[in-house]
């Protein structure tokens, strides 16, 4: 077996390029290397100007998402060996503006996170002296949706988010859903007004790719479909029991 592999890395430098191109690098192929290790090899030994984000190298900080051979993945937990004999194509995440090389712009995503009000909302002034009682089953109800590491792979996989940049998108909706399902929260109504707009859940056409690529098993698609169900129920209820806006 060859002991090197070719990495075709997408390069884009806004100060001199108008569009991206690929550059090939030959890197060692080692059994325990992740794609991230190969990128670091390039940066350390071959070309220090290559830009990409990474930090924890253990699949939890969510910064190293890139497109590897067309599929969005965390580079720190994708074995290089899986692509032998190569070449491997590494590009920035799809559907995001590219700042430089493999780095994409995150502003829009960060704004969407904030928009869904991802914090515990209490309508009463209840301030318990001790913890809210929450049974393991109540915890289980939202736990899965609290595992999102904000890696945005799901946005890169979702054609809807590529076509309509206003779409709030999988991770942000899953996050809203996480708080809705939390037994301590009372903010469902506030969030519904945001999420049930067209750019919210109704933009989703159930491609299902977000859940396929999600590295943490969050299953944002499930969150969206469950949310649609709730929104529909609320819509019907609003006919039967019209509630005043406050």
């Amino acid at each position: 077996m060859a002991d090197t592999i070719i990495l075709e890395v997408e390069r884009f430098h806004p100060e001199r390029d108008t569009e991206p191109s690929y550059q090939s690098f030959e890197v060692p192929l080692r059994a325990d290397w992740m794609v991230l290790d190969a990128l670091n090899f390039i940066k350390d030994q071959l070309d220090g100007s290559l830009a990409f984000r990474w930090s924890c190298r253990m699949g939890i900080c969510g910064s190293c998402g890139m497109t590897i051979n067309g599929v969005p993945k965390l580079t720190c937990e994708t074995l290089l060996m899986d692509f032998a004999p190569g070449p491997v194509r590494v590009g920035p995440l799809d559907h995001f503006p590219v700042v430089k090389d493999l780095v994409v712009e995150m502003d829009d995503f960060m704004a969407k996170l904030q928009k869904v009000r991802p914090w515990i909302v209490r309508k009463d002034d209840f301030k318990p002296q001790r913890e809210f009682i929450q049974t393991p089953a109540q915890l289980e109800a939202f736990h899965q949706f609290s595992l999102c590491i904000n890696c945005t792979l799901c946005y890169a996989a979702c054609p809807v988010s590529g076509l309509d940049s206003n779409f709030i998108g999988p991770a942000a909706i899953a996050l809203a859903h996480r708080y809705n399902l939390d037994s301590r929260d009372q903010g469902q109504e506030d969030r519904l007004d945001i999420i049930s707009q067209h750019e919210g859940i109704w933009d989703c056409t159930v491609v299902g790719e977000c859940s396929t690529v999600c590295p943490k098993g969050v299953d944002p698609s499930l969150a969206i479909q469950q949310y649609k169900l709730t929104a529909t129920k609320e819509w019907f209820k609003s006919f039967l029991l019209p509630r005043g806006k406050n």
Binding site: P14, E19, G70, H95, A141, E209, T212, Q225
Partner: protein, 136 residues
């Protein structure tokens, strides 16, 4: 000379091509699944016409049957059948992406979640087939 700049650069905004659904197999599969709805509608219309001609009397129905035997329609129907199979299979496979986990309240393996649908589907097909074959 180093190319040191102070220029404030603009990010590159990739645009999705008009044929984005051809870019990836997953997307193509999705596009096919979505377009399969068209054939579902087509079959519904055919069935409605069938019922209408049946009600209008034997001559009308014979006419309808003759039309159905025309090669173009046969090809069209075969295509529609393929798409309807695709429609059923892809949507059943999507069940775990949609709601079931809420019912069981536990992560369920995808295949287990979609199996009941397939079973009901095959069961219904069997009954219809037996009916057509005149077993009942």
């Amino acid at each position: 000379m180093p190319q040191y700049t102070t220029f404030q650069p603009k990010p590159y905004r990739p645009r999705m091509s008009a044929y984005w659904y051809l870019d990836q197999w997953h997307y193509l599969r999705y596009a096919l699944r979505e377009s399969s709805s068209f054939f579902v509608a087509y079959f519904c219309v055919i069935t409605l016409i069938q019922i209408a001609t049946l009600k209008a009397g034997p001559t009308h129905y014979a006419h309808f049957q003759a039309l159905m035997r025309c090669p173009v329609i046969i090809i069209l129907n075969a295509l529609a059948l393929a798409f309807i199979l695709l429609h059923a299979v892809t949507w059943f496979l999507l069940v775990p992406r949609v709601a079931l986990r809420q019912v069981l309240n536990r992560p369920t393996p995808d295949l287990i979640a979609s199996t009941p649908n397939f079973m009901v589907w095959f069961g219904a097909t069997l009954i219809v087939a037996l009916f057509i074959l005149g077993v009942f």
